[in-house]
Symmetry: C2
Amino acid sequence: MDGRGALTMLKMEDGALRKQLEFLIELDRLKTIVRQSRIVSHSRRENSAEHSWHLAIFALVLADHAVVELDALHAVRLLLVHDIVEIDAGDAPIHSSTADKDGLQTAERNAAKRIFGLLPQDQGERMDAFWREFEEAKTPAARFAKALDRLQPLLLNVMTDGGTWTENAVTEEQVVERYGPTIEAGSPALWTAARKLVAHHFAERRNL
Amino acid sequence: MDGRGALTMLKMEDGALRKQLEFLIELDRLKTIVRQSRIVSHSRRENSAEHSWHLAIFALVLADHAVVELDALHAVRLLLVHDIVEIDAGDAPIHSSTADKDGLQTAERNAAKRIFGLLPQDQGERMDAFWREFEEAKTPAARFAKALDRLQPLLLNVMTDGGTWTENAVTEEQVVERYGPTIEAGSPALWTAARKLVAHHFAERRNL
C-alpha cells in the first residue's frame, strides 16, 4: 500500500476528522521546504518545519521582552502556522535580489486557500486568519512573531560563520537595514542585544 | 569567528536575556536528533524538532476530539517542550526490544536538569514542570499530548508502506497493543479512526 492508498482509506471516514487528518498529512511537506539558514552544527540547511518549532519556543521563552504585554501562546500559534503556505509557494530568501514580491504574495494567498481549505470550513477560516494576522503584522502578537522570525536566522548566522551573510556578501549596514526595523518593532530590547551581536560578528570578520 | 566565539560574546550581555539566547541556541541541536519514522515523502527519517512542530499543529487542529475539554494551547506548549531532553538522551524507538527504561529515565532527568538549567531559574523551573507534566500524563492536556505523540508516527507509518512496522516486522496485534492504550486514553475518537487505518493497512499488506 502506498500513501495514496492510505489517503483513499481516509476518505472513507466521515466528517471533520477525515479532513483534519488529510490536512495534517499534507503539512508533512513543510519538512521538505529548505531555507537558506544553516543549523548551528553547520551540517545542513534548516527546513521550514523545524524552523517553525524553534520560533514557537522563542516566543515561549522571550515573550517578556516584547514591546507591549501580549499573549505568548497566541504568538506561538501564529508562528506554528506562519510558514505553511511555503508548501506551495516556497521559501523567499531575505537576501535574494530577484524577488517578485507581487508574484510571491499571489502564490502565498493561493497556497493558503488550497491548504487551509483542506480543513472543515470554520477551522480553515480560523487558520487562514492566523496566517493573515502574521502577514499583516498589525497586532502586538504578530509584530512580536515577525521580530522572532528575523531574530532566529540572525542568531543562526552569528553561530555559523556569518551563514547567509557570508554566502551573499551582505554588509553590516545591510544586516541592520534588513533585520533591524522588524525586530525593533516587536522588541526594542531584542534588537539592542542583536545589534551588539551583529557588531561583534562583523568586527571579528574584519580582524580575520 | 566560530559559534563558540559568538557564545562568548553572548556571555558579555547581562541578565536573563543572555541565558535565554544560550538556551535557544542549544535547542537547535534537537534538529539533529533523528527518529525512526520516515516523513511522508519517504526521502528520509524525521527529526525531533520538526516532529515537535507537527505535533503542536496536531494539538491545535484536533483538540475538539480530546476525551475531555482542555486548553489546546497548553497541550501545544507541552508538545513543544516534550522532546527537548532528547538532545542529551536521544530518541527511544517504540519498537526497540533493548530499551533500558530505568537508564533512559535517569538520562532524561539529567538532560532536563542541564538544558532547562540554562534558563533563568524561574523560567527553567516552569519549562521543567511542562516536561514533567507531559511525562507523568496525569492531566487531560498531557494525556491528549501523549495520544498525539502516538497518533502522528502511526499516520506516518500508514503513509510510508508501514514504515517502522514493516522494518521491524511488527504485527497488527503489536501495533494495537503499543499505540492503542495511549491514544485511547487521550481521545477515544482518534483511536477509533486510527484503529480503522491500522486494520486497512494490514489487510492491504496481507493482499500483497
